[in-house]
């Protein structure tokens, strides 16, 4: 199997948010600043890669009809590790991301990839799939955050952009999230229809 293509597909062709359409909750809620997007991507990719690895390792031993609770337990363990690590070593990030750290457990991307891919594929490819999907997730998240933080708070990376300008706060709240993602999806459709 081509390792590079397994990794690459998560970034554009099978981008989890823009193409498959999963993992929306954290996407919209955490894209309020580029720094949040960065740390969330790191945390999610860690959990995704780790759980894909373990699921792929134990796939022979897991009875089919209880696979869901077992996958969930594996994912929840990784998420709790991330929770504890962030709380201990990056308390600022822990506060900023809030409940969305434990909510990584129910990020459809992770359970989805465990079910769709890791339970049916080898260890290395599963890990690559996890890394690629995480990166795709992160790029989308960062793009959203870039738009929302600059328009909604007149900042990027916590630093002011245009001094004295009143930002459009709705962008940093729910409506902004929905609009930006909707426009991004529209953009993707336009690009794809021009290609084909």
């Amino acid at each position: 199997m081509n390792y590079w293509s397994e990794f690459k597909k998560g970034i554009w062709a099978k981008n989890p948010i823009l193409v498959i359409g999963i993992g929306m909750c954290p996407t919209l809620a955490v894209s309020t600043s580029v720094s949040n997007a960065f740390w969330m991507t790191l945390a999610t990719t860690f959990v995704l890669t780790g759980s894909n690895l373990i699921v792929s390792l134990v796939k022979g031993f897991v009875p089919d009809h209880i696979r869901m609770p077992i996958f969930i337990s594996i994912i929840a363990t990784f998420v709790t590790v991330v929770e504890l690590m962030l709380n201990a070593f990056q308390p600022g990030v822990f506060k900023a991301l809030g409940i969305f750290i434990p909510l990584i457990v129910v990020n459809c991307i992770i359970l989805g990839r465990a079910e769709e891919f890791a339970s049916k594929n080898g260890i290395i490819t599963s890990m690559l799939d996890g890394l690629g999907m995480g990166l795709g997730f992160g790029l989308t998240l960062s793009a959203l955050a870039f738009v929302r933080e600059s328009l909604g708070a007149n900042k990027l990376f916590g630093l002011t952009l245009i001094p004295g300008m009143q930002p459009s706060t709705a962008m940093i709240l729910a409506p902004g999230a929905f609009f930006t993602l909707g426009l991004m999806l529209w953009g993707m459709n336009v690009i794809n229809s021009r290609k084909g």
């Binding site: 201990a88 909604g152 630093l159 709240l173």
Partner: protein, 229 residues
């Protein structure tokens, strides 16, 4: 029977492994987490009781809830002057907003430091925002307009000097700027965060209720000390 026993055993095994792994990770991270919390509190105490030496720390129960307070003392012109600090919390928009507050003997706020809040980013959460003088463009060009390291969030700074004897008012004048200082002092008021008055009200409410509890706690101390100060 086998269709129930085997899955149950496997699930139990998975649960035990998870708990085992997590308890070890927790043991590693726990001391750090505790240390962070204490450091944050100590740093905040230093900020709101500047120059005072902590002579007493107490956790007591007032009105069926835990009340944590400190008594500080320092010498001013040869005479001992006291100040008090306490932890106050009240419900904000997204959950309780917890602050540590310092007051002097004349019931004036020496300073507040918000310890915990879960307000909306971009709105209530701006209570933790530092009015940085630096812009992104500036940073990229290597221009620094001042050290942000010692700045404290404007929303919290503006409480310093206000009196707890009379109620604190909220004025909606937009983000704080030095030009507002005189008017705010005169009217014993703060300016709220645009679109997030609730956070300001929560802090004021917590200050009022915390202050009442402080007075109760101090009178309990006076009584138990047999009237001796």
């Amino acid at each position: 029977m086998n269709t129930i026993i085997k899955p149950t055993l496997i699930l139990t095994a998975v649960a035990f492994t998870a708990a085992f792994v997590l308890s070890h990770v927790e043991k590693i991270t726990y001391p750090n987490i505790l240390k962070q919390k204490k450091e944050k509190q100590d740093k905040a105490l230093l900020l709101i009781l500047p120059g005072y030496k902590i002579i007493k720390e107490n956790k007591t129960e007032i009105d069926h809830a835990e009340f944590h307070y400190w008594i500080g003392e320092k010498e001013v012109e040869g005479k001992p002057v006291k100040a008090y600090a306490f932890i106050a919390a009240s419900a904000g928009y997204g959950g309780p907003v917890e602050s540590i507050v310092g007051v002097d003997e004349h019931n004036r706020i020496l300073g507040i430091s918000i310890l915990n809040q879960t307000e909306t980013p971009g709105l209530g959460a701006r209570c933790m925002e530092i009015a940085s003088q630096n812009t992104l463009f500036g940073k990229l060009m290597g221009v620094e307009n001042g050290d942000d390291g010692n700045l404290s969030p404007w929303f919290q700074e503006q409480f310093s000097g206000l009196s707890l004897d009379s109620g604190i008012n909220i004025l909606k004048k937009g983000d704080w700027s030095p030009a507002m200082k005189n008017e705010l002092m005169e009217r014993n008021a703060i300016t709220s965060i645009t679109g997030a008055t609730i956070t300001g009200r929560a802090v004021i409410r917590s200050l009022d209720s915390g202050f009442i509890k402080l007075q109760k706690a101090l009178s309990v101390e006076l009584n138990s000390a047999g009237g001796q100060k």
